[in-house]
């Protein structure tokens, strides 16, 4: 985190970067109803055009912080568990569980079993419903209420923490 950025941009020591030269591998998972992004309530989901646009954005930001992003989505919870069982060795996972936020225990357990850091991201502030997401209890980071921009912050923070694990 303190070395000069390999791309040679000035004054960026301490930011999430690629300075250790290690390419990371992240998985981006989007759960139930997320395939419908672009047709959902814009008051919650904002102006992002589609799930494809979101996956492209996260892939682009991942590339900028030195991470290859594998995007996966399904409306079937078992598919998410299958994906995690066959891809348990990523450097980190970013998941929007979609409709699984309340009851997605199989997915949460599969994420825990990878032993790798995972971040839950939601477009909406789930707490404003008066409920807790089941993922909040065991994930390494929670990002809510920032629409698609939350994913960008999540990728930057996750890359920084994988490269220089937090001590507090």
């Amino acid at each position: 985190m303190t070395n000069a950025d390999t791309a040679g941009t000035a004054g960026t020591a301490g930011t999430a970067g690629t300075e250790d030269g290690r390419r990371l591998r992240f998985a981006l998972l989007n759960g139930l109803n997320m395939t419908n992004l672009g047709r959902r309530d814009r008051n919650i989901y904002g102006s992002i055009a589609s799930l494809q646009a979101l996956e492209d954005l996260v892939t682009e930001v991942g590339d900028a912080v030195g991470a290859d992003v594998t995007a996966f989505h399904s409306n079937h919870e078992g598919d998410l568990v299958d994906f995690l069982e066959t891809n348990p060795d990523m450097d980190g996972y970013i998941i929007n569980p979609g409709g699984l936020w309340a009851f997605g225990d199989p997915t949460r357990i599969a994420l825990e079993e990878t032993g790798r850091p995972f971040v839950e991201v939601h477009f909406a502030n789930i707490f404003s419903t008066g409920h807790l997401s089941t993922f909040t209890q065991s994930c390494d980071a929670t990002v809510m209420g920032l629409r698609h921009h939350g994913y960008v912050g999540a990728v930057v923070a996750l890359a920084a923490s994988v490269r220089a694990p937090a001590s507090n």
């Binding site: 690629t18 008051n43 789930i126 419903t129 980071a141 929670t142 209420g145 920032l146 960008v152 507090n168």
Partner: protein, 167 residues
């Protein structure tokens, strides 16, 4: 990397970071934390001001004095997470986007009285959460359809109130 490359405008947003009671240990060494905030702010092209106090009243007065000048707040409530009703209320009154910030995910697993009324939440891992939250908030402020104070669309939420999933 140059975080400005993630931005969609070049507006120099003013973001206030508030650190409540019991956060001094998390922020040690304090001068390094201030340096990191400056570095991240410079890389993003925004201005970041930081205020730490163990006194809720001082935090309130800071919000009273700064709400008119800043575009958003990152609030690490520290020991006030379950009891800081006055701080929660003044952030509502400020009518600016406020992001609840935790440097440890564990702090979000209990009952936060802030969570239901803030715009968004960014919790864990460590100081990287501050970086992630500054990035996300800056991009959200760039977005005319979201937190940009110049935005006029019906989905602009620069007043800071969260949208309920059940609303």
């Amino acid at each position: 990397m140059d975080l400005k490359t993630l931005r969609t405008t070049d507006q120099r947003w003013e973001i206030a970071v508030l650190s409540g009671p019991n956060t001094t240990r998390q922020l040690q060494p304090a001068d390094e934390f201030e340096r990191e905030l400056r570095t991240w702010g410079d890389s993003l092209g925004i201005a970041v001001r930081h205020y730490q106090s163990n006194h809720e009243g001082k935090l309130l007065e800071y919000v009273h004095a700064n709400a008119g000048q800043v575009n958003g707040f990152l609030v690490n409530p520290g020991g006030l997470v379950r009891v800081g009703e006055s701080l929660r209320h003044v952030l509502k009154d400020a009518k600016k986007p406020a992001i609840e910030l935790h440097l440890s995910q564990e702090e979000l697993r209990g009952e936060s009285i802030f969570a239901p009324s803030v715009t968004g939440i960014f919790a864990g891992p460590g100081r990287h959460a501050v970086l992630g939250a500054l990035v996300a908030l800056s991009l959200a402020l760039d977005d005319l359809d979201f937190l940009n104070p110049e935005g006029t669309s019906e989905i602009n939420r620069s007043h800071g109130n969260p949208r309920s999933l059940y609303g």
